[in-house]
Amino acid sequence: MIAFEHVCKTYPGGVEAVRDLCMEVREGETLVLLGTSGSGKTTTMKMVNRLIDPTSGRILIDGSDVMEIDPIELRRKIGYAIQNIGLFPHMTVAENIAVVPRLLRWSRQQIDERVVQLLAMVDLEPDEFRDRYPAQLSGGQKQRVGVARALAADPPIVLMDEPFGALDPITREQLQNEFLELESEIQKTVIFVTHDVFEAVKMADRIALLDAGRLQQLSGPAELVESPADEFVEQFLGQHRFQLSLLTRTVRTIMPAAAAGPHPAGVPAVRVRARGSLVEALDLFKQTSQAELPVYAGRQFLGRLEKQRLLKEIAKSLGSTGARE
């Protein structure tokens, strides 16, 4: 869907921000650009909506070169959210969300309906929040509005530059979880920039690890953690590898192929997500103090997971990562 072909960006003054980048972002996936500051991750993202133009190489969206698309048209079709400061302070929440629909000349009624729908989607009571100004919102609320605004015109592609970067850890975690849930419903192609490896592992379908403008590894989170391509990647993950390996192994990987145990009637409120990590499952066991819990992939019942087996798998997982060090 989005293809980078030998993309380079050299800034005036000679800083090579991106060097010969080749990769593809698949339709509907969340690709995380991960790296330290100066790795070229933000430059890479901004070249997609032409906030920055590449020095050489091509970026194709559905086969057409972005350099041949009018940048104004292009940007209106791509959602854009950045770290906390992104809201216009002189506009209300509703006006902020309505920016792109207005640029696209939607009707008044269409815009109002969309604002209500989006606010509900990001868990903000429309009647309470519509007419507030950004200064009257908490950090978490601002960020929700930022996400709603990026999705306003229902763009197929969304760019997010450290959208949860300025939040406290608890709020960040909550927003990450909500965004994951939202994302699984709306199926956007998301390019997500972060320097936080835990956030990357949590949010990504695939991670592109960048360093000094070069792509070091492009793979799923589990693969990145379990088989780092080279020494650099291994160093980058550093002492976090134990923790990360627990986050990247999903519950599905430890479930037997066929559903075991009696099939419950309806979808219970307390259930383990098959896509969730082992740590997430462990948390749930702690909270509920049950000996076993049902596992679901969406609405589909996969079987029951015993706490004992989960603990054994976690121990095994730690052992295998440790053994290779």
Binding site: L51, E73, R75, G86, M91, L103, P134, Q136
Partner: protein
């Protein structure tokens, strides 16, 4: 009390007439100064040559340092020179006064427009670009609303200055309250001095107050709210 009534009875009609002229001189000059300084200020924030911006702002600053008396004299002399080349320009009356006042009013408006737009957070402007606003839409929907209060503060300063300087119009037959002050000076008559200077001061105070209200009114409501009032919680 009787003295005041008598004073107003003899000088009242003149004071009204001169006040009207004064207001006319100041406001016409301010409108012209704003019409020049606002677009110029916006342009200077956009020029590719930063030296041009500092050059123009520097020049406007230099104009400001010319004593107001000299400025009026310059305006008259300049127009007189122009007249010798055959240009149909009046050298006395309100025209040279307005030229001097416009030059005086330029700087505060120009400087505040420039700094007002420059102080808008670049991240906000990049978001506006990223969302697909054209340069014009960014100016009209983001930059100007966010700098309007600062620009208005410049207009307010220019107004108060201009009202003061306009009194010098009395020297060159431009009318206005300066005319009464000049007469008071020539005849050593305190009554005329008061009749000219008190309304001028009141005019300055009143404009300052009114424009202060306008400034507040033009401040986007979202910026009047202090972040400390923000609700806590997610």
């Amino acid at each position: 009390m009787i003295a005041v009534t008598e004073f107003l009875q003899t000088l009242g009609p003149q004071m009204l007439q001169r006040t009207y002229e004064h207001v006319y001189l100041t406001f016409l000059s301010l409108i012209i100064a704003t019409a020049i300084a606002l677009p110029l200020g916006v342009y200077l924030t956009r020029t590719r040559w930063p030296a041009l911006a500092s050059g123009v702002l520097g020049l406007a600053g230099v104009i400001q340092t010319v004593p107001s008396l000299a400025m009026v004299a310059y305006a008259v002399t300049l127009l007189a020179l122009l007249k010798t080349t055959g240009a149909p320009v009046p050298t006395i009356g309100s025209f040279p006064a307005i030229v001097a006042l416009v030059l005086y009013g330029l700087l505060p408006i120009l400087r505040n427009t420039y700094t007002g737009i420059r102080q808008v957070d670049p991240a906000i402007i990049e978001v506006a670009r990223g969302m697909g606003m054209t340069a014009r839409q960014i100016l009209l929907r983001v930059e100007l609303p966010l700098s309007l209060a600062i620009i208005m503060a410049g207009v307010r300063i220019a107004t108060v200055w201009t009202i003061g300087v306009a009194a010098l119009g009395g020297l060159i037959g431009a009318g206005g309250l300066g005319d009464l002050i000049m007469r008071g000076l020539r005849t050593v008559h305190v009554g005329y001095l008061l009749a000219g200077s008190v309304p001028a001061s009141l005019l300055a105070l009143l404009s300052d107050w009114v424009l202060g209200r306008v400034e507040r009114w033009l401040t986007p409501p979202g910026l009047r709210i202090q972040p400390s009032a923000a609700e806590k919680g997610v």
